[in-house]
């Protein structure tokens, strides 16, 4: 078990290194660069530009720049934002809470809905409800997140004026209710894709389980239908879903990026897009590494949870 975890952590570190290299290279290959904003400043001379570039270390060859950045990262110095000179970790930290709240609430919503829809589709296979869920999932997966968000805003904020169109809270109103009203729309929008995927996987997993011999044994014991469903079918069908949840994490993160932008939610996703616009390299790289760690850790936790949940699996 310990060996497995150490092995996985080692693998993850290698992967992180690769992600950082590719990210760094792509970022610097993109046209523009942090100096572009200074170029527009009236009266900026060529010499001044070069001086700034030298100060920021941007005049060095790319591998050297990467090495510099990596060396600092390894000792815990994630750099400072070009925009406001705040430490990158502090900037990320100040946006982390909003993103985690959004992701957690939408994941919870998606899992409850997705499990329900999936189980229903499996036990009422080929019923009207099953077909409706199938079509619904296809539509949900086909709708672009940003478009769905805009439609939501148009309907619920503009036309009906039930919910705020964006942001995390009304200025001066710190109540939980106000927060919840702001959360509803981004949460639903972000959950949409996850509900669709989760319910399809859940249905397939459940279908596989309900025809197993042990479900028949449970019925032969005279257990109530609900008991058979929960303890002898759902319990087993949820096992592979742990892996699905792990795999869904990056999709959720990229979904959060779009959703936060549409709803001006002050989270990491919006920070990423803003920083990209400013060519704020340290923050962009920091966010990249941070989300990569989040995804890798999430998958490791999913694998470990699987061991806890399935008595047949023992890691050596």
């Amino acid at each position: 078990m310990t060996r497995f975890v150490l092995h996985r952590i080692g693998q993850s570190l290698l992967l992180l290194l690769l992600v950082s290299m590719i990210g760094f290279a792509l970022l610097h290959l993109a046209p523009g660069g942090p100096l572009a904003q200074f170029a527009l400043t009236p009266g900026m001379s060529q010499e001044a530009m070069q001086r700034i570039a030298h100060q920021m270390g941007l005049d060095q060859p790319l591998p050297a720049q990467y090495w510099q950045w990596l060396r600092r990262l390894l000792v815990g110095d994630w750099g400072r934002s070009y925009r406001d000179s705040q430490p990158v970790l502090w900037v990320i930290g100040s946006h982390l809470g909003a993103t985690l709240e959004l992701m957690a609430s939408s994941t919870l919503l998606a899992m409850i809905l997705g499990t329900g829809v999936g189980v229903l589709g499996a036990i009422r296979r080929y019923s009207l409800a099953d077909y409706a869920a199938m079509v619904g999932a296809m539509v949900a997966l086909s709708i672009p997140t940003f478009w769905f968000g805009l439609v939501m805003i148009y309907v619920f904020s503009v036309r009906l004026a039930w919910l705020p169109a964006g942001n995390i809270a009304t200025a001066g109103d710190g109540s939980l209710l106000d927060y919840a009203r702001h959360l509803i729309q981004p949460c639903v929008v972000l959950a949409l894709v996850t509900v669709a995927t989760w319910s399809r996987y859940m249905r397939a997993s459940m279908l596989e389980v309900i025809n197993q011999d042990y479900v028949r044994t449970a019925r032969a014991k005279g257990l109530r239908q609900l008991q058979v469903l929960v303890h002898h079918s759902l319990r087993n069908a949820l096992l592979p879903m742990i892996t699905v949840a792990g795999v869904q994490l990056p999709i959720l993160l990229s979904g959060a990026l779009v959703t936060e932008t549409v709803f001006t939610w002050p989270g990491m996703g919006r920070l990423f897009l803003d920083s990209l616009g400013y060519r704020d390299y340290p923050v962009v790289m920091g966010l990249l590494i941070f989300s990569a760690i989040l995804v890798l850790a999430g998958n490791l936790i999913a694998d470990l949870l699987y061991v806890v949940a399935d008595p047949r699996i023992r890691l050596t």
């Binding site: 197993q212 011999d213 042990y214 028949r216 044994t217 449970a218 019925r219 032969a220 014991k221 005279g222 257990l223 109530r224 239908q225 008991q227 303890h231 002898h232 319990r235 087993n236 096992l239 949940a309 399935d310 008595p311 047949r312």
Partner: protein, 334 residues
């Protein structure tokens, strides 16, 4: 005739199961007396398992239609038709009055729950035991079915037990609430021969102790000779012979039964006379296209165009407790 007069515990009448238009079993009837062991014998796809599942009402009602009657005499002498009960009332009987064990011990236990828990579930459900009392009773039951170190095994998961141990555990589950009828669907087929004998002994011992009746489904006539009081032979979804075990083994009236007996491997015969096994030629017909006339006639050495191809023979009384479905049984016996 009411069950109280015939003394039967269970009487199945005209049991028919159709999957769409395809009949899996047709007009199956037999009776089971208290404490008796009834063997249902037949080749694969003869309808044995469907019969058992239909009695337990474990077939998917959306996939098939079940008709006929299955009358069960209750402890109070009242008759209940299992096939007409509402699902809730049937669930009350399953695991309590009727226990069932299945063919595959490898797959019939839930891999994510401990063996003990899977036994205590029915005790909690039917006997309203507390979880703690049920867990203690589960350990007793494991000891009863001959599992060593029962307390430790109760907290084991199915994959940690051998096939034979698992089958003992499924027997413990089926017998947890002391059912009056145990339906065993090929309980030894998936096991090694030595383990088979142990499981048969165990079932026999438990039957002696509890006085339950057993419906034992098998394709193995050797097992039948060992355990059965009465035998129902099934072929292509129908009962073709029904007799006490001695009568059936000594004077099988149906050519199919005789053929089954000739195809049982016998060590002594092979050693002393050099006689080879006589297999019944051909296969059980596909339920979708069973032959006209007697369903067995294409494989039967005694078949004649008249009467065997003309009409499906009826189940006739060959003796007061011996039924046979063969148009020529009297000629063949003579």
């Amino acid at each position: 005739m009411p069950l109280s007069e015939t003394g039967d515990l269970l009487r199945v009448e005209g049991l028919t199961v159709r999957f769409g238009a395809v009949p899996a079993i047709e007009d199956v009837s037999f009776a089971l007396r208290p404490g008796e062991t009834l063997a249902i014998v037949g080749e694969s796809s003869s309808g044995k398992s469907v019969t058992a599942l239909a009695l337990m009402r474990l077939l998917d009602p959306r996939a098939c239609s079940v008709s006929g009657r299955a009358l069960l005499r209750g402890p109070d002498g009242r008759e209940t038709d299992l096939l007409a009960l509402p699902e809730r009332a049937m669930a009350d009987l399953r695991g309590r009055a009727l226990g069932m064990i299945f063919q595959e011990p490898m797959t019939s236990l839930n891999p994510v729950h401990t063996v003990g828990r899977q036994i205590s579930e029915s005790l909690i459900r039917h006997e309203r035991l507390s979880p703690r009392a049920a867990a203690a009773r589960a350990v007793d039951l494991l000891a009863e079915v001959g599992i060593p170190e029962p307390a430790r095994r109760a907290s084991a998961f199915p994959h940690q037990l051998s096939g034979g141990m698992r089958q003992r555990a499924t027997i413990a589950i089926a017998l947890a609430c002391r059912p009056r009828i145990l339906i065993a669907d090929e309980p030894t087929t998936a096991l090694d021969v030595t383990i088979q004998a142990q499981i048969l002994d165990l079932l026999h011992r438990l039957q002696q102790e509890t006085g339950m009746a057993v419906v034992f489904i098998t394709h193995n006539l050797g097992v039948v000779a060992e355990i059965a009081d009465r035998v129902v032979v099934m072929y292509a979804g129908q009962v073709v012979e029904d007799a006490p075990v001695a009568a059936l083994l000594e004077h099988p009236a149906m050519p199919y039964t005789a053929g089954l007996m000739r195809s049982v491997p016998r060590l002594d015969a092979a050693l002393h006379t050099g006689r080879r096994l006589l297999a019944i030629p051909g296969n059980v017909p596909d339920p979708r296209q069973r032959p006209a006339g007697c369903t067995f006639h294409p494989r039967c050495g005694h078949a004649r165009p008249d009467p065997c191809l003309r009409a499906r023979p009826a189940l006739e009384w060959a003796a007061p407790d011996h039924r046979v479905r063969c148009a020529r049984w009297q000629e063949i016996a003579a």
